[in-house]
């Protein structure tokens, strides 16, 4: 097979290998060990195949690559149109990177209905990758909604505590918000006869869409609300802590690691891509919400007695950085926003794995039930510290690069934005180090913690790649930024016109 052939096939492969794996699992007899191994093989294979993308990506080009576009259904006019740019490419790789880690971390902790669990996980992976690769809005919406079902089932079936409440809350919250996006997509289709992103983009920018000017504010909001709930942006965030606390570990990892980025990715691709002028007009209040989210999420995280809720609120704070960076409309800020998405996926994914490892041993997430764990679990404590530092934005680890660029971009857009957001570096040190102190330092206060086993082989295997990625992203961020930067530049191109237009009014 030639490289050109492979390049046009690669996105289909990456997207659907997990689904094929899921089908295989359906046929597989219920032998848990075989099912786990098969799931691991499939997810590792997906990851390996997905590495073809960065390996053969033309770095200097900002546009879409590995494109495949076929007429799928003629009426309505739906295309199987897939492609990635330097932004979505890395989100795909993030997804394929985290899924095998989820398999490993679930190896021992999922012991009933194992088959269904891994089927759901693989279906979820396909849906997530599909979201990032689709350029046809119908296809995009299909994958977008398709992520909901496996995720809600993972929470509802394998969670703990008020799992059904959390699953329903998650489902309804994001489902209702997505309906608005669907309406906007249908409006666009009704006016243009196309679901195709690039077609729509050029039609809009050339003013060929009838009635667009009056509809644009509503269209923008309709897309935005769907994405804002997913991010989640303050004040649409209250589903997140509940969903996380009750979700199984792998569910939390996928939720925080990838699902939330669907929202920020959507903002970047569609809110900025299709409605640059509206994005510009709405930026002040959106940035305000992002700033509130950064500070608010951090302060609420500070006082959480539950480890998972603490991490969940910290996600709200971190994702606020992403939204801030996107709506700063600066090259640096957007580069940083994309980098924070990736970095947060790795480090928060790892934090949830770490929380899950404790839950596995003690069946609680309450911080007060721990204390002094560094003594019985030194290797676990070392990993935890490493990830905490990455999450707190220590230079040379992954969190710093993105946060620094976002803050710098926000500061360039408006000094006040940068200043308010930069307080985040104080808060994050506060809640993370306090969490760490209460969990690991001091003397052991609960007898049952005295003899907790340190990391198992599977747990180490799940954590080690995440820690390595956190270090590599911090030391050699150019591997990522080299591809993100041109993509962001392209994304901002229609934008500079608008900026000058608005400025010249």
């Amino acid at each position: 097979m030639t490289l050109a052939n492979l390049n046009s096939l690669i996105l289909t492969l990456v997207t659907f290998i997990p689904l094929a794996g899921a089908l295989l699992l359906v046929l597989c007899p219920r032998r848990d060990r075989d099912i786990r191994i098969l799931a691991l093989v499939v997810t590792l294979l997906t990851f390996a195949v997905s590495l073809h993308l960065p390996a053969h990506f033309h770095r200097s080009q900002g546009g879409f690559q590995f494109e495949v576009s076929r007429q799928w259904i003629t009426t309505p006019n739906i295309h199987y149109h897939m492609a990635v740019d330097g932004v979505s490419l890395w989100l795909v790789v993030l997804t394929t990177f985290l899924t095998p880690l989820c398999v490993l971390i679930s190896w021992k902790s999922i012991d009933s209905r194992v088959k269904e669990f891994f089927i759901l996980l693989l279906v979820l992976e396909t849906a997530l990758i599909g979201v990032f690769t689709s350029l046809d809005l119908f296809l995009f919406y299909f994958f977008w909604e398709a992520t909901l079902i496996p995720m809600a089932l993972l929470i509802g079936m394998y969670g703990h505590g008020r799992k059904v409440y959390a699953a329903v809350k998650f489902f309804l919250y994001t489902m209702i918000a997505s309906v608005f996006m669907l309406a906007a997509i249908l409006w666009l289709y009704a006016k243009t006869g196309s679901f195709d992103f690039t077609t729509l983009q050029s039609a809009i920018s050339h003013g060929q869409v009838a009635g667009f000017l009056s509809a644009a504010p509503w269209l923008f909001l309709a897309f935005f609300i769907a994405f804002a709930v997913k991010v989640p942006l303050f004040p649409f965030h209250t589903w997140l802590p509940d969903a996380h606390v009750e979700a199984p570990t792998a569910g939390s990892v996928m939720l925080a690691g990838v699902l939330l980025k669907m929202g920020t990715y959507g903002m970047l691709r569609f809110n900025l891509g299709l409605f640059p002028e509206q994005a510009r007009r709405n930026a002040p209040w959106i940035i305000t919400l992002a700033l509130v989210g950064i500070v608010y999420g951090a302060l609420v995280a500070l006082v959480q007695p539950n480890m998972k809720k603490l991490i969940a609120y910290s996600s709200i704070s971190h994702l606020g950085f992403v939204v801030l960076g996107i709506f700063s409309f600066t090259q640096v800020g957007l580069d940083g926003a994309v980098f924070v998405m990736l970095a947060h996926g790795v480090s928060t994914g790892a934090l949830f794995m770490l929380a899950g490892i404790l839950y596995q041993r003690r069946h609680t997430y309450e911080i007060k039930d721990f204390g002094g764990l560094a003594t019985p679990m030194p290797r676990y404590a070392a990993f935890f510290l490493f990830i905490v530092l990455a999450s707190a934005g220590l230079p040379l680890l992954n969190g710093f690069v993105g946060e620094f660029l976002v803050l710098s971009g926000a500061f360039q857009a408006r000094a006040l934005y940068g200043i308010v957001a930069a307080t985040g570096i104080i808060w994050s040190a506060g809640y993370l180090l306090w969490l760490y102190q209460r969990t690991f330092f001091g003397k052991i206060t609960h007898q049952e913690n005295q003899a907790l086993p340190d990391l198992s082989g599977f747990e180490t295997a799940a954590l080690l790649p995440a820690a390595a990625a956190a270090l590599l992203m911090g030391v050699a961020p150019l591997l990522w930024l080299n591809m993100i930067d041109p993509a962001v530049h392209t994304a901002l191109l229609p934008f500079s016109d608008v900026l000058s237009k608005v400025a010249g009014q």
């Binding site: 079902i149 209250t238 710093f400 803050l407 930024l481």
Partner: protein, 670 residues
């Protein structure tokens, strides 16, 4: 074309050592661990010496690019190194003193269960500190800056089973982050207006700018924000509160990080940024005021402390204040000179204090020491040199550097007699509390062994937080707590070397050699330089002021001798008669309690009650639930939809999707 010096190796070497000991140290013998730690830190020092030997053949500043690090839009930051006289000096001080403290630590920490972890952290600290010093741009400097903060966090909390140690580490990190917040904003301003953080390009753009005489301006703002960062790292008012608590760490850490090197990073950063400060006179004045006030304020607290390490901690804060006083009057080389001599004598003081603590079985309260000069002569004599040095007795190192600062504070165009006066008063207090420490520790009778020492303890108020002794496991190697004993050779050797340096270290400045060495770095590019103005003020004043500062040092010694040797019962009576004033000083002016009441508690309480319970749960979730409930009431007929059964929801989604597809098909065929 100057040859490449491979400067990057200097920080990387200790990092390799840290990695080896961190990953494999637990499985290796203590000898192997010490070998690795000392070899890699020693190699860094050796390389620094080699670089120093090459200096004459280099054109300074010497730049080296290792590789690009971050590139986004038109912003770029590299792994790039910058060597000039200032960074060379810092390099030698950091790697030299650091190497000696590595040696000392082998003896001090030998019996600790976490020996390899400790050595690994020390090496890690060296990596970050050397990165900070050699960085070619502010962002790389920030890596080192945050990294030394991390190492400090790890080492303060080294005995993490102790709650107070763990809390102190966290406090240090968070307070430093407040400073870093200012530092970062300064960097954003620099990026916004100069579009680079590289020292070379940045300073080239700043050099032609005129001073902002009218007060506020861009450079003033940058200068003030940098000073916020410096105040965090170098423990200046109002961010000094973390440093006394940091004494929870093992004593070699206090010597290396919290006296000799890391805490001087703020001074180094301000000196490195001198072109900015030279053009921002208001910022300079703020630096001078903060430094001067901190020097005095911390010295007064030092008088009343009874823990030997706490006295030294407040003394460090005070001495750092002197360095900022110097920078604030644009006498950067005087500040850096004091930085260097301070690294010698304060490093020595801490190491000697560690040796004292080691000798008396972990005791840190000076009221339970006394008479130790007979038992630990090496420690006594080396500490004596350091005490006379810090008190400012000629011809020891501290005399030269402190006198230089006081003279510049008086004579610089940015200076004032007020700075000088407060500086001299502080010098007197310094001499007093240092000799108080010296007499209490080494003279009189040993008060540790006898159980009857309780009576003597009443001479000064009992500590609120009675200090748990260093959990430094003496019991393991047999020598009991009975008679104080001298430390092993590997600890005494660094003491001796540092004592020599504390003695002669000031002589490098004789005849203005030190200032001339650094002059190319601190050339402000402006017309009126500090040196000229000093020369104008003339020699006789200088001699007079020098005489006054020597008198201050001598009277401090005399007072301490009178109160703590001649009339040892008197201090308690004085303390009693002072009443509230004494209690306030003893309790460090209640600043920690103030911060706790004003900032920490309201923040936690507000976050819990207002944000979490109020906004999140009551307001937002409440609204959502009410909306959901009312929807449920209205749509009674479709209540079976909300069965809570996920599979039925999934069914509804499928049905919805089908409806959508139906609509689309309809729209398409229409």
């Amino acid at each position: 074309m100057t040859p490449s010096l491979h400067l990057w190796l200097i920080p990387i070497l200790p990092l390799v050592g840290a990695a080896i000991n961190g990953l494999m140290g637990r499985r290796c013998s203590r000898h192997a661990v010490s070998g690795v730690a000392v070899a890699f830190s020693g190699a860094a020092f050796a390389m620094a010496l080699w670089v120093a030997s090459q200096i004459s053949s280099l054109s300074l500043p010497h730049l080296e690019l290792l590789s690009p690090w971050i590139r986004a839009g038109n912003f770029q930051a590299d792994f790039a190194f910058f060597l000039d006289q200032l960074s060379l000096l810092m390099l030698l001080v950091v790697s030299g003193v650091g190497f000696l403290i590595h040696l000392y630590s082998i003896g001090y920490m030998w019996d600790d269960a976490g020996f390899s972890r400790f050595m690994s952290y020390l090496n890690l600290f060296m990596f970050f500190m050397l990165t900070l010093v050699l960085a070619g741009n502010y962002l790389l400097m920030f890596i080192g800056w945050e990294g030394v903060g991390l190492s400090s966090y790890l080492l303060i909390g080294f005995w993490f089973t102790k709650d107070s140690a763990a809390s102190a580490g966290k406090k240090a990190f968070i307070v430093n982050r407040i400073g870093d917040f200012g530092f970062l904003i300064a960097l954003f301003l620099l990026i916004k207006h100069f579009n680079t953080l590289n020292f070379a390009q940045l300073f080239e753009q700043i050099r032609p700018l005129q001073p902002e005489v009218a007060g506020a301006g861009l450079l003033t703002a940058i200068g003030l924000l940098l000073m916020v960062g410096a105040a965090g790292k170098s423990a200046q008012i109002p961010l000094y509160v973390w440093l006394p608590d940091a004494m929870e760490g093992p004593t070699p850490v206090s010597a290396l990080i919290h006296a000799a090197t890391m805490v001087t990073a703020g001074v180094y950063m301000v000196a490195r940024s001198h072109l900015i400060f030279d053009r921002a006179p208001s910022a300079l004045t703020v630096v001078a005021i903060i430094g001067t006030l901190t020097a005095l304020f911390a010295a007064t607290i030092g008088i009343a402390q009874t823990d030997i390490k706490k006295v030294l901690a407040y003394s460090t804060i005070s001495q750092l204040g002197y360095m900022f006083m110097a920078c604030g009057v644009a006498a950067y080389s005087a500040g850096v000179f004091h930085l260097m001599t301070h690294a010698f004598f304060k490093g020595l003081l801490f190491l000697a204090a560690g040796s004292v603590i080691h000798a008396v079985g972990g005791e840190q309260d000076m009221r339970r020491m006394g008479g130790l000069r007979k038992y630990i002569p090496w420690t006594f004599w080396t500490m004596t040199v350091a005490t006379f040095a810090i008190a400012g007795f000629p011809p020891l190192a501290g005399f030269f550097s402190k006198d230089e600062i006081l003279w510049k504070a008086y004579s610089s165009p940015h200076g004032s007699w007020v700075f000088w006066l407060i500086g001299v008063v502080t010098a007197f207090i310094t001499s007093f509390y240092m000799f108080r420490l010296w007499f209490l520790t080494f003279f009189g009778e040993y008060r540790g062994a006898q159980p009857s020492s309780k009576a003597k303890l009443a001479t000064e108020p009992a500590a609120h937080d009675s200090h748990a002794p260093d959990p430094h496991a003496h019991d393991n190697h047999g020598h009991g707590h009975g008679t104080p004993h001298e430390s092993p050779m590997i600890m005494v050797l660094p003491l001796a070397i540092l004592a020599v340096l504390s003695f002669v270290g000031g002589w490098v400045a004789i005849g203005g050699r030190f200032e001339r060495f650094l002059a190319p770095v601190f050339d402000s590019g402006l017309t009126a330089s500090v040196a000229e103005s000093a020369a104008e003020t003339g020699g006789s004043t200088e001699t007079l002021l020098m005489g006054i500062s020597i008198a201050a040092a001598v009277s401090g010694l005399f007072l301490a001798w009178f109160l703590y040797h001649r009339q040892p019962a008197l201090p308690a009576r004085i303390a009693a008669s002072l009443g509230g004033v004494y209690t306030a000083v003893y309790n460090k002016y209640y600043v920690d309690d103030l911060y706790n009441t004003v900032f920490v508690k309201p923040l936690l309480k507000g976050s819990t009650t207002v944000l979490w319970h109020g906004v999140d749960q009551a307001a937002i979730d409440g609204t959502v639930n009410v909306a959901a409930d009312s929807a449920r009431h209205v749509s009674d007929s479709v209540r079976h939809m909300q069965s809570g059964n996920l599979r039925s929801y999934a069914g509804w989604v499928a049905a919805g999707a089908a409806a959508v597809i139906a609509y689309i098909i309809w729209a398409g065929v229409r």
